[in-house]
Subunit: 358 residues, 4 copies
């Protein structure tokens, strides 16, 4: 088992650094015969693309994906699908600041401690740029689970949460924050812009729902769907918390309040009167929507000076110039969706491996 | 990759049901030459053992572990270590209630949806009894990371949290709740007993710290230490949320407040002025204590009647008799510690695989 | 990935030493709902059982298997199936000979070099006794592929091969050599008995055919069916060579002679006029019988003295007393069949994971 | 676990088809700090390159490798190394012959049976062109095991074997057959050229030796070094047999003749008087040279007409035009070396994971 591969039978691996010539993903184990072209992938990449508003990094990348293998006559062949995105806007700047001193909260020091040195240009492998590869792979995964509907949104920035009563899915695509509450979106404009002008950054919470997952996907214990999803989400840059269903709030409920009562449903399947469990019981999908929340910490590359040490161990302060997202959680939305799709595609195939059927 | 195996090079798998003849774990990939006997494992099992107070299930199990392989002349040989615990107190009761109707919040319905049927005796494979196997395997893992100090505690029950100012590690072993705050422990007696008498149940939050983890363990992205730990914790029965370091609270901080500033340390290593990151940056240990929080939902097997459906799809109500923990999070403490040890043992070996050294 | 686990989605792991209290296997990922009891496993174990003729080791083991988990009301539940076989005839002998000096050709020296020491009692983990666990797991695997017919036989002992014209499958069970050629069996009586009396040992070739494998199982390249089968067979004690189909003989054929010509078949599927490929092309089953050959070296524990060194590095000679098979390949027959079944069960599930269908 | 990834902690995956825009490999888990540039890889690719003599396919590929990630300032960073080779000489020909009818012995029919269709251009994923990616990855692996010396040669073509007494390692690079016996090389000129002119093809046997492998690498049973190597070699196109050490010949030896006697060595390590075991006992390296033999079947794309069926199931004959190797085993030599290096790099890291040390 290794370090840059995710999944069990539907797997993908990613490669590439922020300032190398390209980044990419290889998707392995994809079912054959699915219609796939670059046009199926590009729209998802465009959603994640940097430089589209003043609330994200100003790096300009076309993020154009090329399919290099695994597709013939417009259909997947069942062999590895190689996806490549060229880096085009690596700015030739002086990296001596981050090369010599560690950004607190960033991977700088830990990489040096592990590997002895690091590619410091734009964060190298630890850059959120890697998430473009996930979004590309996730677009393929969506084709594997066509009956599953996945969507995510930002529910909180810098502690300012949406009002659930204002939730309007239509709004998500209408503001630069993937925010389903138009009033919150308006407040966040000032909030995020203020942080940006201060040279600071903000954390965020992203929520994601997948509906249409049939009861039975998932597995007990070490491959619990909760566990797979938590691993997937925690693998995203800057993520430090994951809740399935009510998560930490469930720890404050009594048993009878946390139960999701069942009634006979019109279609012969149970109809659930609540979804505290986030659609997963015993690690296995119940047929309800899968529901989770993901915490993104604030970007650690900021203009506000922070105490640090140099590679030589001397006291210093660091100010991170360069182009950075004032709130990395915002562009996390398409990434969370991609990881959800990648996990569910894998689970679908695993379920039919063990239990048959389609 | 499969369904009952955890880890990458230091791996364990578990087997067994609540009411079968025995349960067990097989630990694979353990370094050779470690001193190991049943006496190294039993004390950890005793901490998790049921029936030791009125605040846990009244099932009485000796939970005596036997080492069946992998040890010769008192030392691990490097071959698989088979650990077995016999079940001795399966009560011969009538299971027709849970056999025919689904406990909302429990794995009952999901198992049936996946497998077509289930072992309903005491929850079968989905019973928290399985966690004894983890604790046994975790005791072996501790021997692999002797310089790491791991301890966990309950920090919140039913929404009633400890006061961090009262934190006293000595208290943890002095009350039936693994509670480090003597005043909270006193409150919880009434709280948990009340829930028990009401036939209800409570959720809990468990926190865990591992100190002595050297900077460098872990890996970027799909094997981030955050990701491995989240998967490990989410694989425990009843867990629905995981936070690394400040977790969701970090999403409410500004970049400069979430940074863990660094100063030159006396030992040549950086001295950190805070630990919002929970000891992990970019997926790799920074040398600070690893810190995480785990949310346990309330037990779903309760005496309070809940609306449900039968296997045939008819409306019904269910009341779960039998012996159950009123707060399953309490006995989760040794399990969380075990999973922490199991992940860290694996990470130590993975780190030296790639980067050498010891 | 680790060291005592085999398979991808249908997996098994084994544990236990020759002279420990027990040995066992855990089968993970088994489809639910299959009828399974000890009676489905025991007959296969009995075929491999030692002590049934003077041509095998005289150790007497009942080799009674117990199912400890994963079965409920006579059917597999989809959770891990724990199989245990107690060791009953470990003879309390003086092991100082093999403890202090290395048997050339045996694992003794290599284990010490790797682990620093070894369990020398009866070969410990490197004993062929471990293969009983495989046979037990293989019996479960057979239930996963009920339409596949697997059988193996000994085709050569000590360089004396059967005559293919005498091949009679009925004979295999009628002599202590699993020999399909009655005349060869008669010759082998003298051959093997002579080696036994000389305190020597003989190698053997085992052949195995699996018919009923549908075209499509398997995968290209790194999971080629050839590759999976070769890994499986080479994992058996004493195996040093594997051929798929014509194997090394194919290297002496011209392209047109090695081709397996195809004609339209009565059932709409191609009818092949030859099977040089052993039923696998490009790593994928063609629908023809899977055919392979496995080379077993002679037992290395012999009474003939051999030059060796002691643990301290001094020159010595070694004579291995104890009870050993004069030709370990003979009892390899049920083991080869078991490994074939285990690979094919995994391949069936992998195929339907990626390609659906049943 | 999936289908195009090989290795456990040092892993690589490959992607790409014969007539797609490019092929490539991603190497994951590589130790950091190794000096690496394209110049370390290119020479090995040049050895495998097609079109260098009339004894190989006349396709002309520059086979220029580009490193797209994982290297910074000339050293490996410990993150994935993406290697890409552009396809430049895909000939735009009419593939209707192989598109509609199956080449006996080729993967054509099996791919269709598995995936429902296939990329028939030049064999698509099943083309030996894929092996260029392995050679590139293998060049990286060699850097991980700098003290191991790996070399391979052709020992037999079309049944005509070298004379071991003529073995001269210097000769291997001096003829187009990687042949260590100058006289055999002379004979093979006529042999291979004759087969080429006949529109036929020949099989071959490749041998490989790795010296400098320390005692202790490898593992028992399911990760036996024999097993890992057999899987690696069998994953190469056209390979149908693998022998470790004496292989099938060992099955014809008596125990005392197959033993590799040990004498005290000058360096404190045992000195072996023979190497029937091919340097591996009990799955673990003994410190002797690792020795194996690999059987390549004759190329199945030939001009000699062979009976076959069409996709529609009608009787037909097929003649494969296009550019093909008359003896695919010849160019298998650098591929066998690469797979040996890839397995040993993985084993080195696995060994130090479990047992520490360097």
């Amino acid at each position: 088992m290794s370090f840059n591969i995710f999944g069990r039978v539907f797997r993908f691996s990613t490669w590439g650094e922020s300032h190398g010539p390209a980044i990419g993903a290889v998707v392995d184990g994809c079912p054959p015969g699915l219609a796939l072209s670059e046009a199926d992938i590009q729209p998802w990449l465009d959603l994640r693309k940097p430089g589209t508003s003043k609330f994200t990094t100003q790096r300009r990348e076309a993020d154009e994906v090329r399919i290099l293998s695994g597709v013939f006559q417009g259909r997947t062949t069942g062999t590895p699908i190689s996806l490549m995105i060229e880096n085009t806007d690596q700015r030739s700047k002086d990296y001596s600041d981050v090369a010599n001193a560690y950004r607190p909260g960033h991977a700088d020091y830990a990489y040096d401690a592990k590997y002895g040195f690091r590619d410091y240009r734009g964060g190298g492998r630890s850059s959120a740029r890697e998430t473009a590869s996930r979004v590309a792979a996730g677009a393929v995964a969506r084709l594997v689970v066509p009956d599953v509907d996945i969507f995510a949104w930002v529910s909180e920035i810098g502690g300012d949460a949406i009002d659930p009563r204002n939730f309007d899915a239509e709004q998500i695509g209408r503001n630069p924050f993937f925010c389903p509450d138009a009033r919150a979106a308006a407040r966040w404009e000032a909030l995020v812009d203020g942080a940006r002008k201060d040279g600071s950054s903000l954390g965020a919470v992203v929520e994601c729902v997948a509906s249409g997952v049939p009861a039975g996907w998932g597995a007990p214990l070490y491959a619990k769907l909760d566990s797979e999803l938590a691993a997937a989400m925690m693998s995203i840059n800057a993520v430090k918390g994951v809740e399935i269903g009510d998560g930490f709030a469930a720890a404050r409920l009594r048993g009878e309040d946390n139960a999701d009562p069942m009634r006979p449903g019109a279609d012969g399947l149970p109809h659930f009167l609540a979804n505290h469990a986030g659609g997963i019981a015993g690690g296995i999908a119940t047929g309800q929507p899968i529901r989770l929340r993901v915490a993104f910490k604030p970007t650690s590359s900021i203009l506000v000076p922070v105490d640090t040490v140099t590679r030589e161990g001397d006291a210093s302060q660091i100010v991170t110039k360069g182009r950075h997202d004032p709130c990395v959680g915002i562009r996390g939305v398409p990434v969370v969706e991609a990881m959800m799709a990648l996990v569910l595609a894998d689970q679908k195939l695993l379920h039919r491996a063990q239990c048959g059927g389609d």
